[in-house]
């Protein structure tokens, strides 16, 4: 084929230009560490990388959310643990007060001590986080949740709101607990029912907290669970009847309570079961309690399904009972002991409620840890993927650089040789 001289030069230079632009590109890849310099280099990889960038950013942000959640939960947990300590000390004081040998002065000083704990507990309940937000006011983080005193009672001004954080791609975790759950909704008595002496009792009878032996039977109680036990003393024999408060009938006879003496005989300290015995009409409420001391005629104790009461009210009741004193009066001592027994039960319920909250928090904290481990695993995967999509493989790039360098040199040298050939070199002279 005929070759024009122009073609020799054109082909030679375009070859050189192409070789050096390839070389430049490889050099650029090496100096930036990126395989994909512009989306056009690998459109699919660039688009995928953008998507992964976003997922990775979300994952990173969730790690920050988890860190914030962990610290928020940790802070709240420490506050609740303080509250638990305060309750434990109050509990000790109540036991101390109940040992029987206390003068009114001693009781008052115990009451003063408990008042101190009460203030401490109010402080905990009104505590704020690092941003100045109240921890236990639900959504109302700028509203002081608890206000009041033992005398006036404590009211809750927060709400039931529970703040959540996005800690995983499909997991929102609560990071706060409203004060209503932590301090307000405590069951009274033994958690199922409460025993309360009639205020007009004159005997020295003291009730324990009682217990439910058959939950199904207790829950099935036809009247919703409201009874009372009434005592009578005739000829030094104490008898009692159990009355359904709703129907007004005796459980033991099925009819309206008759005149004393009553169907069952009272033995100090024996347990009284709410189930039929002997020839009594059949009934079984699955509950029992025991009463110690000497009830007087007409004394009664009511048994009601547990209600809810705040921990502050529980403490207030105890303090008020302690401060009322006994003045050595057996009926007053019985009232105090009944109050202390009920108080102890309520404090136990409160402690249990706090423990429940703490264990919930613990579960959240450990879930956060698990999510963290998962999150960093996933992050590593994303990094690997991004690197595979975008980053240059140095080994192959360096070997390519050397190769392209060789090609360019060969092209340069061969071009010089070919372009130097001309017949004119030999004409004339």
């Amino acid at each position: 084929m005929r070759i024009s001289t122009n073609t020799i030069y054109d082909a030679g230079t375009s070859g050189l230009v192409r070789q050096s632009s390839d070389l430049f590109r490889t050099q650029q890849q090496l100096s930036t560490g990126k395989r994909v310099l512009a989306p056009s280099d690998d459109p699919v990889a660039s688009a995928t990388a953008l998507e992964i960038d976003q997922i990775k950013a979300i994952n990173d942000q969730q790690a920050v959310n988890r860190r914030d959640a962990t610290s928020a939960i940790g802070f709240a947990e420490s506050q609740i643990s303080t509250a638990g300590d305060l309750l434990a000390s109050i509990r000790e004081r109540i036991i101390q007060a109940g040992n029987g040998a206390m003068s009114d002065t001693d009781l008052k000083s115990i009451a003063t001590d408990i008042r101190g704990s009460f203030s401490g507990l109010m402080g905990v309940a009104n505590s704020r986080d690092a941003f100045g937000d109240y921890l236990f006011s639900g959504y109302r983080s700028n509203t002081q949740p608890f206000a009041g005193s033992i005398e006036a009672g404590v009211t809750y001004a927060g709400d039931d709101g529970q703040r959540e954080a996005q800690v995983g791609s499909s997991r929102r975790l609560p990071i706060s607990d409203p004060g209503s759950d932590v301090f307000m909704r405590m069951r009274t008595g033994n958690g199922q029912f409460t025993m309360a002496p009639n205020a007009a009792n004159t005997g020295s009878a003291v009730s324990d907290l009682g217990s439910v032996t058959d939950g199904v039977a207790w829950n099935a109680a036809s009247n919703g669970g409201s009874y009372k036990v009434v005592f009578n003393v005739t000829n030094n024999v104490t008898t009692y009847d159990i009355v359904d408060n709703t129907s007004g009938n005796s459980l033991l006879t099925g009819a309206a309570p008759g005149a004393a003496p009553y169907p069952r005989t009272y033995v100090d300290g024996d347990s009284i079961t709410l189930a039929s015995q002997g020839a009594e009409p059949a009934f079984d409420l699955g509950a029992r309690f025991s009463i110690t001391g000497k009830p007087a005629t007409g004394d009664s104790f009511s048994l009601d399904r547990s209600a809810t009461q705040s921990v502050f009210e529980t403490i207030g009741d105890v303090v008020k009972a302690l401060e009322a004193g006994t003045n050595g009066n057996p009926a007053a001592i019985a009232r105090l002991n009944n109050a202390l027994s009920a108080g102890l039960g309520n404090i136990d319920q409160a402690q249990e409620a706090l423990l429940t909250v703490r264990s919930r928090m613990g579960a959240r904290a450990s879930e956060l840890q698990a999510l963290d481990a998962l999150g960093s695993d996933v992050d590593l995967q994303f990094q690997t993927q991004l690197s595979q999509l975008r980053d240059v493989d140095y080994t192959s790039a360096i070997s390519r650089l050397t190769q392209q360098q060789t090609y360019l040199q060969a092209a340069q040298q061969s071009f010089l040789k070919v372009s130097g050939l001309s017949l004119f070199n030999f004409i004339g002279g």
């Binding site: 960038d53 942000q61 920050v64 937000d133």
Partner: protein, 647 residues
């Protein structure tokens, strides 16, 4: 006899001289662009008839012709015009490609930063500093949207300038070609078709090649040697010695867009259909604008509009730090309707384009026409059109396009046309309008609570609002459980009852109060008879972050293109489309470059000058010249011989 010998010798000298001159011409023009090597064509003189037969009378130069193939030259021109189109497309698109390549300058990091800032508020919804950072990062993100949009606008504006430049170049070239046509026709009429004006023909071919590098033209050779050139659908640019001009003018529909018009022989101005102008630099510019830039602007605008609309909608469901309902976070974006310059100036109708649902938006532009009775809307990406008797009936409810049209207080005149651009300017127009950090609506306006005295295990979820209907709540709504009938009696709000059977429903049942903000909540557990739950206004709920979580969830929610993709996905799709197109053009350009060098080689192989060959010719003609000279010397000596006989 002596004279004859002299004469033959001189014809040889002349022939050799012509050969030397032509070779010299070839050597001198070896690197002249468009030059075809020339050859001297020799013939024998008419022989003399003698008694012993014909006696040769020497040589004569028949013609000097260029070594040329119409076919190969046409191939080079075609390859050239295609190559120039790819090159100009590639120049333009690589600017976009590089703009989007920057990981830091792109839109993605700005969007991620914005959502990060939102999430950071979740642990401290009352912190004004965290809230301020949301607004700051929103402003940074809107600025990024604006910058990208403006950058695309600048590209579009610079295209206008380049299109005008290309048109000027075309006009200059066609008038020069027409002049050459004239010269060639005149020359050919005197010399006839066998003796051509080689160098003028080469010069004209070179101009036609240059013209093809600007735009593709079709050629038609005429018998008088001139060449007629046509563009587009066959509009003549050059006919013989006359040329016709193109003009770059603002489009009638969109004044910001330069179009190419053609002034026909009669003087009438014709709009050239854009996709018929192909090849060359101009073809590349127009194709880039049509296929890539318009799409990119619309796609980016759609992300901006979708972002603003969805975020605003969720934000308005919320409640701010002052307890007020959320307001627009970003400005409300609207589409554009550009009236045609030919529209009736009497009616001066205006059309408003309101975005109704960003998830239905496409990235196409639309054309609206009115013929006096019927409105017709045509989607330009695929030419699907809809007609309706009223403007409000477009686009039809059955094929939502994400926007609605109205003409406000004006009325369209018959023959009016509008270019509808729903998303074109979205990215440039986006602004953050919320500036007070207290007005970030991170809470929800409705809260729930369980009455403290409840003794069952029933629970009510925090719930969420899904509309603004009936908000703020007129009063508290109390749900009281009736264990006999297994229902919640509802006091306040919608009233009535909600069925709930603890035996089967304790795992949780959802309810929605449509008239009360579409409030959706869940009841679970086992409530005891008489237990009550309250749904009420979220008074003082500064610590509530429910709406914040809902806003943050928008980040990867698939809300665009009918739920097929999210904001980030739509942006990634745009980047991928531009990247893929840039790659395609680059690959085509490389392939076309190879093709161009192949056909150029073939053409040069025929017409190009090879200096070695010319050197050999030089020697050949030199020797021929010397030989002819020797012959004259010999003739002289022969003559002397005769003279000497006499002496």
């Amino acid at each position: 006899m002596g004279t004859q010998l002299y004469n033959i010798g001189i014809t040889g000298l002349n022939a050799a001289q012509a050969g030397l001159i032509t070779t010299g011409h070839n050597i001198s023009n070896a690197s002249t662009p468009g030059f075809s090597r020339q050859q001297v064509i020799l013939g024998t003189n008419d022989p003399q008839l003698t008694g012993s037969g014909f006696l040769g009378q020497g040589a004569r130069v028949e013609t000097v012709r260029r070594v040329y193939s119409q076919f190969l030259t046409a191939q080079v021109m075609e390859a050239q015009t295609q190559n120039a189109e790819y090159a100009s497309y590639s120049d333009q698109i690589s600017a976009l490609d590089n703009l989007l390549a920057d990981q830091e300058a792109g839109l993605s990091p700005a969007m991620s930063d914005f959502f990060d800032a939102i999430q950071s508020v979740s642990s401290s919804p009352t912190s004004l500093a965290s809230r301020q950072s949301v607004i700051s990062s929103a402003q940074a993100m809107t600025t990024r949207f604006n910058t990208l949009g403006q950058r695309l606008d600048q590209v579009s504006a610079s295209l206008n300038g380049q299109i005008s430049g290309a048109v000027t170049e075309i006009n200059q070239l066609v008038s020069q070609i027409a002049t050459y046509n004239d010269q060639i026709a005149v020359a050919q009429s005197t010399t006839g078709s066998t003796r051509l004006a080689n160098d003028t023909l080469d010069a004209r071919d070179k101009l036609i090649t240059q013209l093809n590098e600007v735009v593709r033209v079709t050629q038609l050779a005429q018998s008088d040697g001139s060449i007629n050139l046509f563009i587009g659908n066959g509009q003549p640019l050059v006919v013989g010695g006359s040329s016709f001009n193109l003009t770059a003018t603002p489009s009638l529909e969109d004044p910001s867009r330069t179009e190419v018009t053609y002034t026909a022989p009669g003087g009438a101005v014709l709009r050239l259909q854009e996709d018929t102008i192909t090849g060359g630099k101009l073809g590349g510019l127009l194709a880039f604008r049509r296929d890539t830039l318009d799409n990119a602007q619309n796609a980016l605008g759609r992300v901006a509009i979708g972002f603003a609309e969805q975020f605003n909608a969720q934000h308005k469901l919320g409640q701010d730090l002052n307890g007020a309902a959320g307001t627009n976070f970003f400005n409300v974006l609207a589409g554009k309707a550009l009236p045609s310059a030919l529209n009736s100036t009497v009616a001066a109708a205006q059309v408003n384009v309101t975005i109704s649902n960003s998830s239905d938006l496409t990235t196409s532009d639309y054309r609206l026409t009115y013929d006096g009775t019927t409105y017709t809307l045509t989607r330009q990406s695929d030419n699907v059109s809809w007609s309706a008797a009223t403007l409000g009936g477009l686009p039809p409810a059955g094929s939502p396009q994400g926007f609605t049209l109205d003409s406000g207080s004006t009325t369209l005149a018959a023959g009016d046309a509008f270019l509808i651009q729903p998303t074109r300017s979205g990215s440039i127009d986006l602004r953050t309008v919320l500036t007070d950090p207290r007005m970030l609506a991170m809470a929800m306006p409705v809260a729930t609570s369980a009455t403290l005295a409840n003794t069952g295990t029933g629970a009510i979820s925090a719930g969420s609002v899904t509309s603004t209907t009936g908000l703020p709540l007129a009063g508290n709504i109390t749900l009281t459980f009736d264990a006999t009938n297994n229902v919640f009696n509802v006091t306040g709000g919608p009233g009535g009852t909600l069925a709930f059977n603890p035996t089967t429903d304790s795992g949780g049942v959802s309810y929605t109060l449509a008239g009360q903000g579409g409030f959706t909540f869940q009841m679970s557990g086992t409530p005891r008879n008489g237990d009550s739950f309250v749904i009420k206004a979220n008074a003082s709920g500064q610590g509530d972050n429910r709406n914040l979580l809902a806003l943050a969830a928008l980040q990867d929610k698939k809300t665009l293109a009918g739920g097929a993709t999210g904001f980030q996905g739509a942006y990634a799709q745009m980047v991928a489309e531009i990247g893929a197109k840039a790659r395609e053009v680059k690959v085509n350009q490389t392939a076309q470059g190879v093709l161009l060098s192949r056909v150029t080689e073939s053409q040069q192989s025929l017409s190009g000058v090879n200096l070695d060959e010319e050197a050999a010719n030089l020697l050949r003609y030199q020797q021929a010249y010397q030989a002819a000279g020797k012959m004259i010397e010999l003739a002289s000596r022969l003559f002397d011989t005769l003279l000497n006989i006499g002496g």
